[in-house]
């Protein structure tokens, strides 16, 4: 009865395969980024300087911290500390919310300055600049969607931990969800320098 006892190794393998698809999904955007950076270095530079380093850096710290808590929650559940697991998960989810709020502030500031996809200002500007901001919105938007999904999944697992469905012996679902969360972090680790720093 191979499918009745849980194969946590198989579940993790499946999760990693899924993470690869996510990596390649963002990889597609990075292909475009690298090609257009190569073509419009000056305009990308100008665009990059209009992004707010403080927002970007804060969000980096927020995400790294949330990743830490997510990782600790796995340790906690394996050690059987249910309350602690729940606490750590809540902090992780909290970080996700903080991240989204900051992202919202950042985007609305840009919108305020007339910088949004297809805005008259971008259409009038040099071609590379509109490309830069389109890529910026695309990448951070796609990443933002992943943060939202990650947050929802995290909440769902927290409920399962609460109900005891996930516990010190059966916890591969929690592990997989945190893997997903770390991937979201990983992507941001690249977005941050590419958009906020090197230009």
């Amino acid at each position: 009865m191979s499918h009745q006892e849980k194969d946590s190794f198989g579940a993790k393998l499946g999760m990693w395969l899924f993470l690869f698809t996510e990596m390649l999904l963002f990889g597609g955007v990075f292909i475009l980024y690298s090609v257009y950076l190569n073509r419009y270095p000056k305009e990308f530079g100008l665009g990059g300087h209009q992004l707010d380093l403080v927002f970007g850096a804060t969000n980096t710290v927020v995400l790294l911290t949330s990743s830490l808590f997510a990782a600790m929650s796995v340790t906690a559940i394996k050690r059987g500390a249910k309350r602690l697991t729940l606490g750590l998960l809540s902090v992780t989810i909290g970080c996700a919310l903080v991240f989204l709020c900051i992202k919202y502030l950042e985007w609305s500031a840009k919108f305020h300055h007339g910088i949004y996809p297809n805005s008259p200002k971008l259409i009038a500007g040099p071609p590379g600049e509109s490309i830069f901001f389109s890529l910026y919105y695309l990448t951070t938007g796609l990443h933002g969607i992943h943060v939202v999904i990650g947050g929802i999944l995290m909440t769902w697992t927290a409920v399962m931990v609460q109900k005891g469905i996930l516990n010190s012996t059966d916890n591969v679902t929690l592990e997989n969800v945190t893997l997903y969360w770390h991937l979201v972090d990983l992507v941001w680790i690249f977005i941050f320098p590419l958009y906020y720093l090197i230009l």
Binding site: T21, L24, L25, G28, L32, G128, S134, L135
Partner: protein
């Protein structure tokens, strides 16, 4: 089971005690999911071929014949989208893969049965979205299945919805891939070592990797087409600094590897059928298994050969042309090994074998014409002509399509417990084979003479050959109708099919017909390779 109207002879059809639609669309049994895929895929195949028939009818003579230019453009677009994304990509892996793979490995189901069901649902939802897009918004998309920008960004037809449907289908494909890789790693029965895995399973393994690693790129590309249309991102819009050729790169980064998603499972089917009907071990097992992986790997690096005329750099053409020729080598190895398997065998020409043998021939014609396309100088002339159309119908229909029918004749009786009649199958096969060549070989000649593809109307000098091709399509129709009707009738009302009449040595032939829901009463222990016919209960 005395009533001869009963579907199947028991097994998984009956043993859960549940019937009715709910026991199917919410079932996590890999066999039921496989059959649901099979019906959908076959249904879409018939939709697709009907559209193909209309295309040929329009092209029977120059000038307007049955439809307008706009309708014609929608016809080949929908024909291409249906055939590629709804028929041939899920075709063999999702239907026969699901039916056969777990049993061949000695497992009771795939690794993630519920994900498997989700994958079918995504397929159904994606298909519905694609179909809805034909009748809503600005009408059926008219971009060709390649959705090239800037045209796809500015046409007023319902491209966004169609593309979104394809996006959903991509997820279905990814989930199937993840499932199969995990299944093959984790669910093999004791004794099923890597060198005892049947070659069909090996080919699914290679396919699954392509599905997992390449499909996300088409997902993001299609998302970009949608955002381009709705938000005006301008990433491919030359007036805003975008580069239309970058779209082509992203599209083909997926869509070339996708052609190996289409053909590898077909090759796996052939590798399983030829030894059985020759009663001889497959020649060069390891080379065939390895060449599947080699095709998957090398095939991921040759996408640029679709873009020789696009204005790509000459260095790019050099590299991509070189790699394209490299991919041909593992295919050649497979062909030589298949033919050698028959040497001194005991060859029985039953329907599955006939389809398998014609696969080798048709795939070779298609593949060799692929070499003409891979060489830079010659591709320039035949690119975007009916030569290319001929090439890909040879490999897709002559290859995968014929493999699909081979698999249907070989495996389906096992799952229904009834079989088709042999004579009509052979008559149908002959008509298909003849009609196929009349139509597509003629199209290759047309391409050499310079007739561009996606042409609603053409110059009088192409009229005669187009007429021949259209007549060929009618012969092909006749064949397909006979084959499908014979299968259908046979599976539901034909002679009982039990035991191991073909004499296969893979695990699916060692269990009851039709297989019970749990496949194996107790975990099998594998003691011999998949093609050791001696002592495998072969009559």
């Amino acid at each position: 089971m005395s009533q001869d109207t009963a579907i199947g002879q028991g097994g998984f059809w009956r043993d859960t005690g549940r019937t009715g639609i709910g026991s199917w669309i919410f079932s996590t049994d890999h066999k039921r999911i496989g059959l649901m895929y099979l019906y959908c895929v076959l249904g879409f195949f018939l939709v697709g071929v009907s559209l193909g028939l209309l295309i040929r009818l329009e092209l029977i003579a120059p000038g307007p014949t049955i439809v307008t230019a706009q309708t014609y453009n929608a016809l080949f677009t929908v024909h291409g989208v249906v055939m590629i994304f709804l028929f041939i990509i899920p075709g063999i892996p999702a239907s026969f893969g699901n039916l056969v793979l777990p049993i061949q490995l000695g497992a009771r189901d795939v690794a993630f049965p519920r994900v498997n069901l989700l994958s079918w649902w995504l397929y159904a939802i994606g298909a519905v979205i694609v179909l809805v897009s034909l009748f809503t918004g600005g009408g059926a998309p008219d971009t060709g299945w390649t959705f090239y920008v800037p045209f796809s960004a500015r046409t007023t037809t319902n491209v966004s919805l169609a593309v979104f449907g394809v996006f959903v289908l991509g997820f279905s494909s990814i989930l199937t891939g993840i499932n199969f890789i995990t299944t093959i790693h984790r669910m093999r029965a004791p004794g099923m070592t890597w060198t005892r895995i049947p070659l069909f399973a090996w080919s699914l393994y290679a396919t699954a990797w392509v599905q997992v690693l390449a499909t996300p790129i088409i997902a993001i590309t299609l998302l970009l087409v949608i955002t381009e249309r709705i938000l005006g991102l301008g990433l491919f819009d030359p007036t805003r600094g975008g580069d239309p050729v970058m779209y082509q790169h992203m599209f083909w980064i997926y869509s070339h590897p996708a052609v190996y998603i289409m053909i590898l499972p077909g090759m796996g089917v052939i590798s399983d059928i030829i030894p059985v009907f020759s009663r001889k071990p497959i020649f060069g097992y390891k080379m065939i298994a390895f060449s599947s992986l080699a095709i998957a790997a090398a095939g991921s690096a040759v996408w640029g050969h679709h873009m020789y005329t696009s204005g790509m750099s000459d260095l790019g053409i050099l590299v991509f042309s070189f790699l394209t020729f490299i991919v041909a080598i593992p295919s050649a190895i497979k062909v030589f090994n298949w033919v050698s398997t028959m040497y001194k065998g005991s060859i029985s020409l039953e329907a599955p074998m006939l389809f398998a043998l014609s696969f080798i021939l048709l795939f070779s014609i298609g593949g060799l014409s692929g070499l003409i396309l891979g060489a830079a100088a010659t591709d320039i002339h035949v690119h975007d002509t009916h030569f290319v159309v001929g090439h890909f119908h040879y490999v897709m229909f002559g290859g995968t399509g014929f493999a699909f029918f081979a698999a249907a004749h070989y495996w389906l009786p096992k799952y229904y417990g009834r079989r088709y009649k042999e004579k009509p199958a052979i008559v149908g096969w002959i008509l298909m084979f003849v009609g196929f060549n009349v139509m597509y070989f003629t199209m290759q000649v047309l391409g050499m003479e310079g007739m561009p593809r996606r042409y609603y109307d053409y110059l009088p000098e192409f009229a005669r050959l187009n007429l021949v091709a259209t007549v060929g399509s009618w012969i092909l129709v006749a064949g397909i109708i006979i084959v499908v009707w014979n299968l259908w009738r046979g599976l539901f009302r034909g002679e009982p099919f039990t035991g191991n009449p073909w004499g296969g040595a893979t695990l699916e032939w060692s269990i009851a017909t039709p297989p019970p829901t749990e496949n194996f009463d107790e975990d099998p222990v594998v003691t011999h390779g998949p093609y050791e016919f001696k002592g495998a209960g072969v009559p």
